[in-house]
């Protein structure tokens, strides 16, 4: 690598970091949404059972 | 149909020129914004003459954004927009009438006061007609695209800031061709390609934006 290798490595590092960061954020967001969905489902189920019981 | 169209234009003009209207504020902002540049970059005539066209155009772009957020909002708040949507006129034409009134109270006055600012910015007097023609062809596009932004942000949070944010990137071609026309004239070249492009852009926005505005207003009224 010539005198400007730092710029090349930095470019690759920035790109990889941004892409990995976005992928990770999307994955965490999906996991959070899955949890929220499961919770909401459970609550709705509990409510229905409660009504049936009464 | 023409009568209804003109009635809407007339109503908005009366509101625009009246005490509530934003016309004077817009003009004042335009003059003030341009006057800041000599203070910012220094009073050397060569520098001012070099940046005059760009400064006037950028200030016109920003000034045209000022009153946009009120374009449909006041009508929506007091229910006029619901009535206008039921007018015996396609919603696209209603939008066009309101946009025309907006241009008559912002774009046209901006154009008329521009020569004064051009003199203050040391612009060559010979290129003044080109500047005026470019502004006349360009500012209606600003009103039309701005009206899309205004209609899309109806009922949005921070609508007043959002309108320039989504509108300004879309009107960059107007800025480029508008400044290009004046600069070409000041180099002694013909300005007609730039003016033709401005005119083509206006023709495009004039035919397409009423659909976008009407669609956005329908959304807001649902």
């Amino acid at each position: 690598m010539g005198g400007h290798a730092a710029f090349v490595w930095l470019s690759f590092a920035v790109a990889v970091a941004l892409l990995l960061g976005l992928a990770l954020q999307s994955r965490l967001g999906m996991k959070a949404a899955e949890r929220e969905h499961a919770e909401a489902r459970q609550e709705a189920g509990r409510d229905n059972e409660g009504r049936r019981g009464a | 149909m023409m009568k209804v169209f003109l009635a809407i234009v007339g109503r908005d003009l009366r509101l625009g020129f009246g005490a509530q209207g934003a016309m004077m504020t817009t003009l004042l902002f335009f003059v003030l914004a341009v006057s800041l540049f000599p203070l910012g970059v220094g009073p050397e005539p060569q520098i001012l003459a070099r940046i005059a066209a760009g400064v006037i155009w950028v200030a016109a772009l920003l000034a045209a954004m000022l009153s946009l957020d009120r374009l449909f909002q006041t009508d929506q708040e007091d229910g006029t927009l619901d009535l206008l949507a039921q007018a015996p006129l396609p919603l696209g034409l209603v939008a066009l009438a309101k946009t025309l009134a907006h241009w008559l109270t912002t774009g046209l006055p901006l154009t008329m006061i521009a020569p004064l600012l051009a003199v203050m910015m040391q612009m060559d007097l010979a290129v003044m007609p080109v500047l005026l023609l470019a502004l006349l062809l360009g500012t209606p596009s600003l009103s039309l695209i701005g009206a899309i932004g205004a209609a899309l942000t109806l009922g949005a949070r921070r609508g007043a800031v959002l309108v320039p944010l989504i509108t300004l990137p879309l009107v960059i071609p107007v800025l480029i061709f508008g400044v290009g026309a004046v600069e070409a004239a000041s180099y002694g070249l013909t300005a007609s390609p730039h003016l033709l492009l401005l005119g083509a852009f206006l023709a495009g926005t004039l035919t397409l934006s009423p659909f976008a505005i009407a669609g956005a207003i329908k959304l807001a009224l649902e």
């Binding site: 710029f7 930095l10 920035v14 999307s26 999906m30 929220e36 909401a40 609550e43 | 879309l170």
Partner: protein, 244 residues
């Protein structure tokens, strides 16, 4: 096909089936393409090693435009057929497109420093990418500005379409502007003439980036659909409680 995809449950199943393949394409394509470009491609006789930045910069620029086009198609689908999943796909695309645009801008800046000696040059491509970045941010801001997601979705869809119609004109006007104000250097960020040694890593990276887009899109759309369903479940549970 379009109709089948409108069913969120079916869409989620399809996305779940595609996701591992998309992830594999993304990882393999990006590693092979970028690794090839970084380590095994020939240096340029004029720019030397710096030309390797092109292997990120150019695919990122392609992806930035491709994703905006995809967003516009999804928005049109959402508006014309009231396709609920298309609306969410457009929403989920925007951050990915903005990320690629940002990568293009940052690598352009890092390329400009050794080439021109400055961190920013108003080069035609960098300038149109900057405007594209503003368009992405405006689109995202419009989504965030409404409480009602269906109102936000359709307003954003109209904005995406207006932007897509305007984008070629903006690109043309920026190129025009750039030729009028001839830059000091004759070199542009176009890179040297396309040679097979250059083309292959570029294409492989571009395919990897497309895989990455599909992968992240599937994650984000799934999150959006689940969130929306959770909101509906909570809402109906609350009204049930009030009724019962």
């Amino acid at each position: 096909m379009l109709h089948a995809l409108a069913n969120p449950a079916r869409f989620l199943r399809l996305m779940g089936a595609i996701r591992p393949y998309a992830a594999a394409v993304a990882v393999i394509g990006l590693v092979v393409g970028l690794g090839w470009g970084l380590l095994y491609s020939p240096p340029d006789y004029q720019q030397g090693e710096t030309v390797r930045i092109m292997y990120i910069h150019v695919p990122a620029a392609w992806m930035a435009m491709f994703i905006y086009a995809a967003m516009a198609v999804a928005s049109a689908t959402a508006l014309i057929w009231r396709h609920p999943v298309a609306e969410l796909a457009a929403k989920a695309s925007a951050p990915v497109g903005a990320a690629f645009t940002l990568i293009c801008l940052i690598t352009g800046s890092l390329w400009g420093k050794p080439m021109w000696g400055t961190w920013w040059v108003w080069d035609a491509r960098l300038t149109s990418m900057l405007i594209l970045f503003f368009l992405y941010l405006g689109y995202i801001a419009l989504w965030e500005a409404f409480d009602d997601p269906s109102r936000a979705g359709r307003a954003a869809a109209i904005l995406a379409l207006v932007g897509a119609v305007n984008l070629p004109i903006i690109k043309f006007s920026v190129d025009w502007w750039n030729t009028l104000h001839q830059p000091a250097s004759v070199m542009t960020l176009a890179g040297p003439k396309i040679h097979p040694d250059i083309l292959w890593p570029l294409l492989i990276t571009a395919i990897g980036a497309k895989g990455y887009y599909v992968w992240v899109l599937s994650l984000r759309v799934r999150a959006e659909i689940l969130q929306r369903q959770a909101r509906i479940l909570r809402f109906s549970a609350a009204t049930d409680r009030r009724a019962g």
